[in-house]
């Protein structure tokens, strides 16, 4: 009885050092050596300035940019406060928010039905992607605002379109931050 209590104490200490310190620190070392960029969040650097992470979304509101999905992380795309809206499907706040966004998006773009990802928040609030439908929907607005031909913008979107992993896993998607940064390097945003 008493023996097992002492073992419990020593066992907790010894295994905490093994699995709580040596294991994660060892993995950190290996990851930093073999996958340096990925282990540190795939940061984008432009002329010495950090512009974001390739896999963490940012908010965009100007007409010359592709817009990300709505976000419930903090005040929007705040990685120190990740999370969703947690609104149930019959919640009035959800329906009012979507109705408001639909109205705004139709005014800014066209009166076609809005691709659903553009009016729904993601689970993380940090979704870096929109669907190809969501990108296509915004092409005329972005092109018009930048005085570019739609085909040019569409070709750029096509370049940023990612298919399913291995051809069948997940969903096709377009990375908004990378697309917008490329747009900016082609053409200064207004």
């Amino acid at each position: 009885m008493k023996n097992n209590l002492f073992i419990a104490m020593w066992f907790t200490l010894v295994t905490t050092v093994m699995f709580g310190l040596i294991y994660p620190l060892g993995i950190t070392g290996l990851a930093q050596v073999f996958f340096h960029d990925r282990a540190n969040g795939q940061l984008i650097e432009k002329s010495g300035k950090l512009m974001g992470s390739r896999i963490i979304g940012q908010a965009f509101t100007g007409p010359g940019y592709f817009h990300s999905r709505p976000s419930s992380a903090g005040t929007g795309y705040d990685p120190t406060s990740s999370g969703g809206s947690y609104l149930g499907p019959t919640n009035k706040h959800l329906i009012e928010r979507v109705n408001g966004d639909v109205k705004r998006l139709q005014e800014e773009n066209s009166t076609a039905p809005i691709p659903v990802d553009l009016v729904t928040t993601s689970g993380s609030g940090l979704d870096p992607d929109i669907s190809p439908a969501g990108a296509e929907f915004q092409i005329p607005r972005v092109a018009h605002s930048r005085g570019m031909k739609e085909e040019v913008v569409r070709a750029l979107v096509e370049r940023h379109r990612k298919g399913r992993d291995l051809g069948f896993l997940g969903e096709p998607r377009v990375n908004v931050l990378e697309l917008n940064l490329d747009l900016d390097s082609l053409h200064t945003a207004r």
Binding site: A59, P115, V116, G125, D129, L169, E171, D184
Partner: protein, 590 residues
Amino acid sequence: MTANGWFQILLVLAVILAVTKPLGIFITRVFNREKTSLDPVLRPIEKLVYRLTGVDERHDMRWTEYTVAMLFFGGVSMALLYLIQRTQQWLPFNPQKMVNVPPALAFNTAVSFTTNTNWQNYSGESAMSYFTQMAGLAYHNFTSAATGIALALVIIRGLARKETDKLGNFWVDMTRCMLWVLLPLCLVGSLMLVSQGVVQNLKPYTTVALAESQTVQVTGADGKTSAQVVHQQVIAQGPVASQEVIKELGTNGGGFFGANSAHPFENPTPFSNFFEMVLIFAISSGLTYTLGRMTGSPRHGWAVWAAMVVLFLMGVTTAYWSEAKGNPMLAGVDQRASALQPGGNMEGKEVRFGIANSALFATMTSDTSCGAVNSQHDSFTPLGGMVPMINIMLGEVVFGGVGSGLYGVVVFVILAVFIAGLMVGRTPEYLGKKIECYDVKMAMLSILIMTFVILGFSAVSVVQPFGTSSISNSGPHGLSQVLYAYTSMVGNNGSAFGGLNGNTTWYNTSGAVAMLLGRFFMHIPILAIAGNLAKKKIAPASAGTFPVTGALFTVLLVSTILIVSALTFFPALSLGPILEHLLMSAGKSF
């Protein structure tokens, strides 16, 4: 629903089928202390652990001593986790200068991680230091998983051994499980995840300049909103991959970040998502083979496996169908699936995962006691969100938590053969062991405790202001939130309808009680059954023995699981998700 969606779902199942036998054989060898190819490396470490901790590896325990050792270890390690959280600001690896966790929250979290629940009333990125995450939380992911697996092995030994009261040594089972089963898979798995983009560093959070500055509405301390321009984004970092892999493999489910496996740094690509889902089912599936192998009846193991697959497919079909249909309340929105978009109910879901992978992850995380989420269950359609809830109410026996799924399903097997015995008027037998009054009593005890806690605490919470003030959705969805919370905590799952504010005195305390009852009041009856079974003789099978292999047994097991849970929880479910579904179809919002 799309053909590609179904292909992805069935592919996961196919991989699980493929790993079941090799993993099951490996686990058998580890716990029988037979030779494995990892011995040259791990055996010296194992011996060192015994020398440092004073374990006599030749000592064999009775079920009572095994229980005492398990409870001592749970208590001591829980106390250490509490202590780490309460002192984290003075400990190393804290670049963000996180302050000490307040007592009620630290207690809830300590209980939560010790019991393999990983219910989280905090967001990792704003509350926990890297030291707490590594040495406190991730460490418990290892130990609580190993405890579950050890217990599963004890009940298997109870069935396999005869006329003995010895069931193994808790410390040896723990050590071998962590070193041989969990560690090698974690080493490979965490590097695999890093290669996909899961971060692994000890750096302070990274500040970056936004590509386009944003004007946002901020609510001040005085409750007034004001416009503020934001130029920067602060990106949370940390040793995520090493925790992510054991979180899934050990069916723990506690996210490094608040958004859990929806967060791009925890689950960056569809491939990482696929890998994480396989990890969630792998060990539990392997254990069904271990059950068959150690009791000398591999076909029994497969019959149990088949029952689990039937229940899994029922869940994932319902969830996928319901989520793919979308939300009928949204007007002017295109929710159809096409080559350009997944469509469906995308609130709370990531574009890279779409509908199929979100519904699949939700089903798997609740079939097991994992509780990691890659989408927010709170925002699922009523019937889609009911699937994870029912899965947990079934007792998480569809593969189930590592170990806990197996001993959970053995309880249902005992009930099933008991019912079959009553129907034909013979003493029920299970693999040659007579099932008697004591065994059935203990089995029922472990089932009733769950009912009692879920319905009892939910009932109190929906009539008292300290309970209702945390509910964030009105109407039947509010009841679903509370019901889901207690179901998840007593089931040691840890996923949530995240809108419920659990960080209050009532939910922190009642939740901790629910988690402890759900864990240890399951464990003690299970160990008692194991101890009792081991003492019995093994009777040879006769013409009158009800076979525990084959399709008839699988059907009986599935029916027993469904009937017990349906009778218990149908009234509560009809007032929550089912009512919400009917009202949603009628266009009513709350």
